[in-house]
């Protein structure tokens, strides 16, 4: 564990009461390794360690903490503050309906999260959501959302065969207004950020649907590539938040820090399982602990 490695580093600490630069460098090398093993982006790690070093050098060793605990505390505080000190909720539009658009790479958990978010908005925010099947490509994607909707007794809007995603969204929002649904959640097809045609399509979908929330759905096990794809999605769509999925696995989830650093957007929810109820708000301190290992 990182604690054990840091303790080994500090066992050689002189009794000066202050952490010297040399002590800090050795400790921070362990922190750097821990963050890279947690999939935090290489450049983000370099920057992070530089900032932590400034805070740590010359730090008085608090009498109640060992140097190991002291360094870990500084690192955790810094990680937590980067991940977002306050909880960020779904922005409800004063003019109904609130439109939420999901986006992300193939297989990240968008369709499942669409259903989870619908349940959350109904149960916790007392809203009347409608789920919209805008993935017209993946075999049985529409059916998948319909089955999830049925399981929750939640309305799913699907377009006629051949209708383009932007048009499906437009129709769904109109339908929502007419039938008093106050939250519209748009599921979209998985796509590569380097696929110009598909990125163009989701940009057009956004322009038609005018979503109040654009959520990037990211798999917690995503590696270094997280920054490339998040940057592209953010530049194309101007994200309002992220959902980090599959946190019930044992991936450390460093991608969350990288993406937050590079886009500045908050993680709004985390997925912790396959059931519709497996969605939780994001707790930065918990995530910081998990990333640091």
């Amino acid at each position: 564990s990182l604690s054990a490695k840091l303790s080994a580093v500090f066992d050689k600490l002189r009794k000066s009461g202050k952490l010297t630069e040399k002590d800090i460098d050795a400790a921070l090398n362990e922190v750097k390794m821990a963050l890279l093993e947690a999939d935090v982006n290489f450049k983000v790690v370099k920057n992070f360690v530089k900032n932590v070093k400034e805070k740590a050098v010359g730090a008085e060793i608090l009498s109640s903490l060992t140097p190991t605990q002291q360094v870990i505390k500084i690192v955790l505080d810094e990680l937590t503050s980067l991940l977002g000190k306050e909880r960020s909720k779904i922005q409800i539009s004063p003019k109904k309906p609130t439109v939420i658009m999901m986006a992300g790479l193939q297989g990240s958990g968008k369709t499942t999260t669409t259903a989870k978010l619908g349940l959350y908005m109904r149960k916790e925010e007392k809203k009347n959501p409608i789920l919209v099947a805008c993935d017209i490509y993946r075999p049985a994607a529409i059916k998948q959302l319909q089955v999830l909707g049925d399981q929750l007794s939640m309305k799913v809007y699907a377009g006629e065969a051949g209708t383009r995603p932007a048009e499906i969204a437009r129709q769904a929002i109109e339908h929502a207004r007419e039938h008093d649904f106050d939250v519209v959640i748009l599921d979209t097809a998985g796509r590569l950020h380097i696929d110009e045609q598909m990125m163009g399509e989701i940009k057009e979908l956004k322009e038609v649907a005018q979503p109040h929330e654009v959520l990037l759905v990211v798999d917690a096990m995503t590696g270094q590539d997280a920054v490339n794809m998040a940057k592209s999605f953010n530049e194309m769509l101007e994200l309002t938040g992220l959902v980090l999925t599959k946190l019930d696995g044992d991936a450390r989830g460093g991608a969350a820090l990288s993406i937050r650093e590079v886009t500045g957007k908050p993680v709004k929810f985390v997925g912790i399982g396959e059931k519709a109820s497996a969605l939780e708000p994001f707790y930065p301190e918990r995530m910081a602990q998990r990333i640091l290992g």
Partner: protein, 278 residues
Amino acid sequence: VLGSTKIDDNLLDELEEMLFEADVGVKTTQELLDFLHKKVDEEEITDPQKIYELLRDQLKARLAKFSSEPNLQKDALTVMLIIGVNGVGKTTTIAKLARHFTKAGQKVLLAAGDTFRAAAIDQISIWGDRVGCEVIHGNEGGDPGALVFDAIHAAKKREVDILIVDTAGRMHVKANLMAELKKVQKIAEKESNGGPHEILLVLDATTGQNAVQQARLFNEALPISGLVVTKLDGTAKGGVLFAVEEQINAPVKFIGVGEKMDDLMPFNPEQFLEALFS
């Protein structure tokens, strides 16, 4: 692509950065750089090109040394079990494998072994239709063990060459789900002659260091005979593969490079390394 024209700390820093950003990981990257440092000192290397070559040779040596040919039975049913965590591309890979083997003249049958996830049976049935092979399926919520049993018997009855079994995505840390997978394997073993003849673990190229854990724990549960790395048409390099190979030494049999049924390629280490260095 790499800027340094002489061997100095800059060049080794650049290589370190390239390896990290390709998801090669801390331990493997450190081993590679230690090796390169040692070689530069011992052999007094001055040509940066020599360093690239040394690195490439080291990486190539770490890729599995066995044949990456699929293990097909002569004149008997071949059973393939496709496993992996959620969303990595198992079902789509099965469609691609079915297409690959059908084009090669084999008679393929698919088994809708994911009886859990919403519309999983619908998804593989549509693929079976597109590829032109039958799909044995039960009801959603049914027992996957019973499904595999029925599929193998159907495969034998129809004198099919290859049966490819889909399974539900599952986290390697969930003991009950891994136990369910073991049960499916035991049934396949009992009902077919020495099967499953291929147990393919599907890994998503966008995955970071967690792929090592996935490989380790899936391999502890069942003997992985090969890997399929999907989504290599994206920008992720799949560099975690070296650490995975160190853990379980299973050859990469195929790679996924897109969402269509023809987007499957046999694994080519040279091409993989080329992409890593680009």
